[in-house]
């Protein structure tokens, strides 16, 4: 009960900070703008291609899938955008507290390290979720103007994939932010770490050895694949949750151990 209150107090404080400074607005703008743009591009391409196909085959060919042509590229593009956006959400989380000395306020009040770490993680994930939520406006015309309403499930799984993927990156970013008192350093390191996690996926090759496959399994982007196609696999959800949990565990350990090294 009291731990819930402490976590929510931290969340509230972080949100106040995000929206009390330009950070939240800038990120919201960048994210929704790019989301809209990628949606538009994918959608126009889809319309063009389906018109062409319709002309050629007189509607006899395989039906073009909105999921395959619009949602999948859109969510995967946004996953790349997230690589840039999330470091900006997470870099200040602990680095700023350390530089300002306010970490001393947090650690001399009756809070546990876990409550602080979780509060910050939920605040950043919440803001990221809010960004995704706002950009869903783009889909409204599909339901309003399409003759047959598209299936909502692929959109839902795509959003879930993006959120889980974002949460994993945020957990790692939170951990990296505990390592330094310099926000910029934390931001750059997080970005590098995210790129490294992305490239892990490139090792994926069915012919490769077990080690290489194990590495590829750790790729945060690969696990989005099915969900962006509208297929919800519990395996992927578990992967993201445990990935986030591990990042947060590292963050908590780091915060705690710094007390001993100080």
């Amino acid at each position: 009960m009291s731990s819930l209150r402490n976590v929510s107090a931290i969340v509230e404080k972080e949100w106040r900070h995000y929206f009390g400074s330009p950070i939240a607005y800038v990120l919201l703008f960048v994210w929704t703008f790019l989301f809209g743009r990628f949606f538009q591009v994918a959608f126009e391409y889809f319309l063009l291609a389906s018109a062409r196909q319709g002309g050629m085959e007189m509607g006899m060919g395989p039906k073009m899938s909105l999921n395959e042509w619009v949602l999948r590229p859109l969510f995967q593009n946004m996953a790349v955008v997230a690589l840039f956006v999330i470091p900006m959400l997470t870099m200040r989380l602990f680095a700023e507290e350390k530089r300002q000395g306010t970490i001393e306020l947090l650690s001399t009040n009756p809070l546990t390290d876990w409550q602080v770490v979780l509060g910050k993680f939920f605040a950043a994930t919440g803001l990221f979720g809010f960004m995704i939520l706002v950009s869903l406006v783009n889909f409204v015309p599909l339901w309003v103007y399409a003759t047959t309403a598209p299936d909502w499930k692929p959109v839902a799984t795509g959003v879930l994939a993006l959120l889980l993927y974002g949460a994993s990156l945020i957990a790692v970013g939170t951990f990296i932010s505990t390592l330094t008192r310099n926000q910029i350093v934390a931001g750059i390191l997080s970005f590098c770490a995210f790129l490294a996690l992305l490239t892990l996926g490139w090792a994926d090759d069915p012919a490769a050895g077990p080690l290489q496959q194990a590495i590829a399994y750790l790729s945060v982007t690969a696990h989005m694949e099915d969900m962006t196609k509208g297929v919800l696999d519990l395996k992927d959800v578990v992967f993201y949750l445990s990935f986030s949990g591990f990042g947060l565990f590292l963050a908590q350990q780091s915060v705690e151990s710094q007390r001993w090294r100080a």
Partner: protein
């Protein structure tokens, strides 16, 4: 209320706090005095569970700082040397955040925040951004944060550092008014501060406790047998001979010409004897004008210097307090 036993903190090979022990009774204001880098802040950080000790134990209200940090933190209000504040928050919002993490129940929050704001005289800035406040106000916001939950123990690290004289006076008054209700540990390197506010002083240097007493006793102790300053009109030679013959004088140092034909001497008297009447009679009886006769009380400032300034050549930190100890035992 606070019990510190043999506390030691090492950073690698450097020992910041070295076997410090002291205790503070409920309602007492303890002054923690020492030069910069003496280990005051480290000790306070251990007491507030910010740092773990290398050795030794510290208990606050019966709870061990290492074993039950949450219980300890619930009972402590703490301001570090630079108050940790969020510059982009308004004063009231900041205190509201603090009231939540301090676990003050929702229905009491408003009242407690208002009380703290009133006590620290922050009423006119309650809706200002902390980043825009002056140093003095920020210090007060820090103090408001510390007293917010009405904790049993207040730990204040240099609460008057960087304030202007008026603010210093106000802060001291505030701290004094908080004593009794709260147990307070206050660190400072400004001596008048402890003389004014504290009931007891622990002097710490190079991580060790070198003296512990009331400010009055400390002054008394080092006054020792009571050195006197005698100023009389006349020649140094005859006056020296005259004063030397006064019974009870065990040391005599000419202090030179004090101007206007007056010469000064410092007289050491036997322990426990007040030689002022004898000296006055001797000087006046010999036909000299007695211009001045005073006790050479040491200010805390001098005591502090005497205790903490050690010959770094032989690093004999414990010697000074031993010297300080001697007269006190004789006197009692």
């Amino acid at each position: 209320m606070i019990e510190v036993v043999n506390l030691t903190k090492r950073y690698g090979r450097h020992t910041a706090v070295d076997g410090v022990s002291f205790s503070v009774q409920k309602g007492e204001i303890l002054g923690f005095l020492g030069p910069n880098g003496a280990g005051k802040t480290t000790t306070m950080r251990i007491l507030t569970c910010y740092l773990p000790a290398t050795e030794g134990t510290a208990r606050v209200a019966g709870f061990d700082v290492f074993e039950q940090p949450l219980e300890v933190k619930r009972r402590i209000g703490y301001i570090p040397e630079t108050p940790p504040l969020y510059p982009d928050m308004e004063v009231a919002d900041f205190l509201s955040f603090c009231s939540k993490i301090k676990g003050i129940p929702g229905k009491d929050r408003r009242r407690k925040i208002d009380e703290a704001i009133e006590k620290t005289r922050l009423v006119d800035v309650r809706n200002k951004h902390i980043g825009k406040l002056s140093k003095g106000y920020r210090q007060r916001v820090g103090l408001a944060q510390a007293i917010l939950a009405n904790p049993d123990v207040l730990i204040l690290d240099e609460p008057t550092a960087g304030l202007d004289p008026k603010q210093i006076l106000e802060t001291r008054e505030l701290i004094k008014s908080l004593g009794g209700e709260h147990t307070i540990i206050l660190s400072t390197h400004i001596l008048p501060e402890v003389e004014v506010t504290c009931g007891r002083v622990v002097i710490i240097n190079k991580g060790k406790v070198v003296a512990e007493d009331t400010p009055e006793n400390l002054t008394q102790r080092l006054r020792g047998s009571g050195a006197l300053r005698v100023e009389a009109r006349g020649e140094t030679g005859p006056l020296f001979d005259l004063l030397r013959t006064v019974p009870g004088v065990i040391g005599l140092r000419p202090k030179g010409d004090a101007g206007d034909g007056v010469v000064a001497f410092e007289v050491d008297a036997e322990a426990g004897r007040d030689l002022r009447p004898e000296l006055a009679r001797a000087v006046v009886g010999a036909g000299h004008d007695l211009v001045g006769l005073s006790r050479l009380g040491m200010s805390l400032e001098e005591i502090f210097l005497q205790i903490t300034t050690t010959d770094s050549a032989d690093g004999a930190a414990p010697e000074a307090p031993a010297a300080a100890e001697a007269p006190a035992t004789e006197a009692s």
